[in-house]
Structure formats: C-alpha cells, structure tokens
C-alpha cells in the first residue's frame, strides 16, 4: 500500500496573534481546499490510499465530497474511525492510528501547536508540516500541490528517509525526572502565570529562551538566540540565553512584524542530551514553540534537554530533486 496520512487542524490560524502581530485569520474552507490539492497531487504521484483525521469542521469529509462531485477522486480516501474531542488529543491519537496503518508520510496542516502534538507521538514516519498561518516556526509555508508530490514520492519509496529527511532536534521538558512536554524549536520561560490565550508575546515577562535551533530568519523567540548564534538543524547542540538581563542588546524578530530590542546575557550552547536544571524562584509558565503550556511553581525542579528525538522531517526541495534524478517524473 502506498499510503499517506493527512492531519488538518481546524483550530489553527485563529489565535490572538491575529491581534498582536498583524496576522490574518485562516479560514477553514481554505484548509479544505489545501487538503483537496494535496489529495489530487498525491494521487497523481502514485499514492493509492490516504487517511485523514476526522475533525469538528469535517475538513476531510468536505474535501472528499467535493472531489467526488467533480469526479476527480480516483483513490481510496478514508477518514479515520475515531472519537474526536475537538482538542489536541485528536491530533495525538490520529498520529498513532496512522502510524499503525503504516502510512509512509504524514502531512500536517496547522501551526506550531499542531506539529508539536504530532511530534509527541510520531516515531519513524516522515513528517511534512504545512503552515496555515503567518506565525509559525516549525511548519513551512508551502503549496499543497508540492506537499502532495513530496508525500507521494515518500509513499512510493523511490527515495529513502535517510536521503530525504532530517531527523530533527527537540527540546524536552522533564519534571521530577518525567518527560512532561516538548518543543520543536523553542522553550520560553516567562514570569506570566496563566495560559490564557496561549500565544506568548509579552517580551518584558520573559526570563530565558532554550532552543533546538536558531536563525535570524526563523521568526519567533528563538531569534533572540539566532541573532547572536546560528544553530542549524544538523548541529549537534542547542542553546539557551537569559533575557531581560545582562549587558548585551540585540534586536530580534520575536514575532511577525515585530523587531524588538532586548537585553540578553551570553548565549550558552547546550550539548545534545545535556540537562539544564531549572529551579524556578517564581511562579511562571513555559511557552513551547510560542504557546504558553506548562505552568510552574516555586519549589519544583525541571530538567530541560535538547535531544535528537524530534520527527523525521521531509526536506521538500531535496526530495523533489532526488525524485527527478531517479526518473520519478519520466513517463
């Protein structure tokens, strides 16, 4: 079976960043359209079965229905039979089911939160994160047709994971020795206390940033590191930096449309698997890939590590180039 999976999050692209960083709300009917383009493109590239996560907006059903009406759908597209909760658990569960079904590539439409949820449970299946908004650090802005082609190439096995994918790093958060959460790109430690509207944008509350990778072009809090030190995806280290303290000043694109000048300490690199111990002296919250997720309290003990336990991420250009060299597109 040359199968792929599609997870499309109906809730992505709508959060408070629409207000605080000049982003546009992403409408779900466009997500349906993107899914349709991925299906058609994957179908055209040899995929014979596609699994789609069910969701509250029925993105998968709508895509299938439309493609049946237009008589363009030739392959089996199946919506996973699972109960949905309308929250992040759906993504985690769908990822597991799709891996059990043996999909050769998992396409994820959503923001950092959605990709992070997939990354929590995915094992060896290559991942393509498709950004559906303006403010993402992990998923890429890329046309669905190209995504479908790359997924199709992975499904047909003409290129191997080793050749086309990057095994990503991630930031792991441990409390009392237990892994409690992860970030794909950055973990921000903030003095803010509550989850609220999730996104984090108030610079003055931030204490520290820990990154798995950093680059000035990778908009978000990781740029606070990235403007001083580039940390590439293939570098075997991460980094951390103290914020709102220290003698250095950097300017960094901490959010879309927002360049901020910030006082920082020295960048410190973190070797893979090296534990950074964090004993909070105040109650606050950790934001993972830009979303406030883990509240912490005085007296708790945390270990934060950068590891190579992230997902296999399909490098789209490389995959298409390799496929071309292998004659994939020749008839």
């Amino acid at each position: 079976m040359k199968s792929i999976g599609i997870i499309a999050n109906p809730a992505s692209g709508k959060d408070i960043r629409r207000l605080v960083s000049h982003a546009t709300v992403v409408d779900n009917n466009e997500k349906v359209n993107i899914v349709k383009r991925i299906i058609l493109s994957a179908q055209g590239c040899g995929v014979d079965r596609i699994y789609i996560m069910p969701d509250t907006f029925l993105i998968g059903y709508k895509a299938i229905e439309d493609l049946k009406i237009s008589r363009e759908l030739k392959i089996d597209v199946e919506i996973l039979n699972m109960n949905i909760k309308g929250n992040v658990m759906d993504t985690i569960q769908a990822t597991k089911i799709m891996e059990e079904k043996g999909v050769k590539c998992l396409v994820v439409l959503g923001g950092d939160g959605t990709n992070r949820a997939v990354a929590k449970s995915i094992t060896t299946t290559p991942l393509i994160g498709v950004s559906t908004g303006t403010n993402n650090v992990y998923p890429q802005m890329i046309e669905g047709t190209v995504v479908g082609m790359a997924a199709g190439i992975m499904a047909t096995g003409i290129c191997s994971i080793d050749d086309c994918c990057s095994k990503d790093k991630r930031v792991e958060i441990f409390r009392d020795g237990q892994l409690i959460d992860i970030a794909l790109v950055d973990c921000v430690i903030s003095r803010q206390k509550y989850v609220g509207s999730k996104a984090i944008w108030n610079m003055e509350d931030i204490d520290m940033v820990i990154v798995s990778r950093a680059h000035p072009a990778s908009i978000g809090f990781s740029t606070i590191v990235g403007t001083s030190l580039i940390v590439r995806t293939d570098d075997d280290f991460g980094a951390l930096i103290q914020v709102n303290t220290g003698s250095h000043r950097v300017k960094a694109p901490v959010a879309a449309g927002t360049i901020r000048e910030i006082s920082v300490g020295e960048v410190r690199s973190l070797k893979l698997d090296e534990a950074f111990y964090f004993k909070p002296g105040y109650n606050g919250i950790m934001a993972l890939d830009g979303e406030r997720e883990v509240p912490f309290k005085v007296g708790e003990e945390y270990q934060i590590k950068v590891t190579r336990n992230g997902p296999y991420r399909v490098i789209i250009d490389k995959t298409l180039e390799l496929a071309q060299r292998n004659g994939f597109f020749k008839r």
Partner: protein, 327 residues
C-alpha cells in the same frame, strides 16, 4: 502583562454574581414568579466578564436576548434587574422592558435586545458617536453565532471597518442558533473567519477561560481606543441551559453537555486562583456568601416593590407626548 490579584478576584465575583443571579432567575421562573421568557447566560459567564473587565463606565455595550450577564458584567445593579424581571415599577425599565430589554444608559448599556442581530448596527452607531465626539470611548457588541447569519452582522462589520470605528464585536459562539447546530446553520466553523471579508482582525478564544477572553479583549479594546478600528473576537462557549427556560433541549446530546460542563469557566478560575495563592478557600466562601446575601436582598427589594400604575403604560413612548389612557 499579568493580572493583579484584585482584578482576578473582581472577575471571579462578576462571574459568580452572574451565575447566582441566573440560577435564582431559573428557580423563580420555574415557580411562576417571573412572567414571560428568560434566556439564561449560565455557562457563558467568562465572556461578558473577561470583556467588560477591560471597559470603563463610559464605554458602551449592546447586548442580546441573553443579556443578563452582559448587564451584570458592565456594572448593572441586581436589585433593579430583578425588579425588572418581576415587572415592577422600580425595575431598570419601570417594568416596561422585562428580561430582554434591560438597559442602563448611565453605564453605557444600550440595551438587551429581543431581535437577533439588531445590536450590531446600534453598536456601530455608538462607535461612530464616540469617534465623532472625539472621546476615547469604545463600544462592545455582544452577539451569538446565530446572529452572524443576519444581514445586519455583515452591514455592521463593513461599516465599522470602512470608518475604523472603536467597536469590538464579541461573538458568543455557543454552538446553537436556538435548536440548530452551527454546522447546520453556517458553512464555517469559526465566525472569526468572517473578519477577513471586512479587513479586520478576527480571533478565536476559549470563551470558557476568562483569562483568555480578558487578554484578547484587552488587545482589541486597546486597538479601538488607539484608533486602529474594530476587531472580531469569537469566544467558543456553551450555554448550560436551553435557549430559553423551558426549552427541552432535545437537539443536543448528553455527552456534549457533560463535556462542556467540565469546562465550566467558574471552577477553572477558582482552581487557578487557589493554585496561585490569589485567594484562599475561606475567602472564596466569604465572597460567595456576600453574593448570596446580595441576591437575597435584591429579590426582596423586587418583590416588595410595587407594580407600576396602569396609566404608566401610555408614558415614555415619546419625550413630549403622553398617549391617551383607556376611557
């Protein structure tokens, strides 16, 4: 930015006042002591509370048929509210409006409204007025998901946007337009998507998390005061009770109700406050007792108030004309 303990406690108090007011209203209605219809806000308290916590007395709101919560959050007096529900002379509207028409011009409450979708354009007018008079006032327009299928919604967003008016459109998406699930009454899941068509920011927040609502509303209110124009905030929420008291709610299944009851905004805030040492259990108990006493007092005030004289029926139609009484 972080919320002060004082603000958190104030928001708890508001939510609890709404909850208790509505719970009592349900009881009184069931006992036949309140005539007419009542549409209760139980379950949606975080929306009115989180939004109105950003407003001043001089700011405006327009409300809906499910308006008690908005009025309480904007500073309405429970005594006059109950008196109005009882149809008494001392009520906010001298007994002429009832549950669906409570207004308090002194607090910028431009009225609950019995017509679904009617508040949108009135809010635009109030926003225009604030801008015209060069004040820093804003107007919050509360409405449900069902009303976004009315033409007025689209007219209002369009007008507010072209004129960059200080209006915050707050959609309380409780998933149902009366009995019709949102998936059946509109081809979108997020009302916020509609903001795109009117060139304004649209944002979705968890309407059962008062802190999330507060944050989003704060940004939107700031934008409005700064002259940056309108915002559409969609709060995902749920009414614990039927569309109106007496609604058998055959259209929603028990599982769904159960799930949403678990997301009840009030225990969520309590848990956060206890967890962060904002208040103690004793302090909460004390607040609850104060509210219970206030409500008891308000009901007593209402029930002991006289009904209006029948001749009052012909007054207040115009500022200068009193209609003829029955001869």
């Amino acid at each position: 930015m972080d919320l002060s303990n004082e603000k958190l406690i104030q928001m708890y108090r508001t939510m609890k006042r709404i909850r208790e007011f509505e719970t009592k209203a349900a009881e009184l209605f069931a006992e036949g002591r309140i005539p007419g219809f009542v549409h209760l806000y139980i379950g949606e308290e975080a929306v009115a509370t989180g939004v109105c916590a950003n407003l001043k007395d001089s700011d405006y709101i327009t409300s809906t048929h499910r308006g008690h919560g908005h009025i309480i959050a904007k500073g309405g007096d429970l005594k006059y509210m109950f008196a109005e529900l009882f149809g008494r002379e001392t009520g906010y509207c001298k007994g002429k409006g009832g549950s669906m028409h409570i207004a308090d011009a002194d607090r910028g409450i431009l009225g609950a409204n019995g017509i679904v979708g009617a508040g949108h354009n009135i809010a635009v007018g109030a926003g225009l007025s604030a801008k015209y008079r060069d004040t820093d006032q804003v107007c919050v327009c509360f409405f449900g998901d069902g009303s976004t299928n009315q033409g007025t919604f689209h007219e209002a967003l369009n007008m507010a946007s072209i004129w960059k008016l200080p209006v915050i459109f707050v959609c309380e998406n409780n998933l149902y337009g009366i009995s019709m699930h949102q998936s059946r009454h509109q081809a979108i899941q997020d009302v916020a998507d509609r903001a795109v068509a009117y060139n304004m920011p649209g944002v979705v927040v968890d309407g059962n998390d008062v802190l999330a609502v507060y944050e989003a509303a704060k940004e939107a209110v700031d934008r409005a005061r700064n002259g940056q124009g309108p915002t559409l905030i969609e709060c995902k929420t749920y009414r614990h009770r039927g569309h109106f008291e007496g609604d058998p709610t055959v259209y929603r299944d028990e599982e769904e109700v159960k799930e949403w009851l678990q997301k009840d905004p009030i225990p969520r805030l309590v848990e956060f406050m206890l967890d962060n040492n904002v208040v103690t259990e004793e302090e909460i108990k004390k607040i609850d007792e104060e509210i219970a006493a206030e409500i008891k007092e308000a009901i007593k005030f209402a029930e002991e108030s006289p009904f209006p004289p029948v001749e009052a029926a012909v007054e207040d139609i115009y500022t200068d004309i009193v209609e003829e009484v029955r001869s």
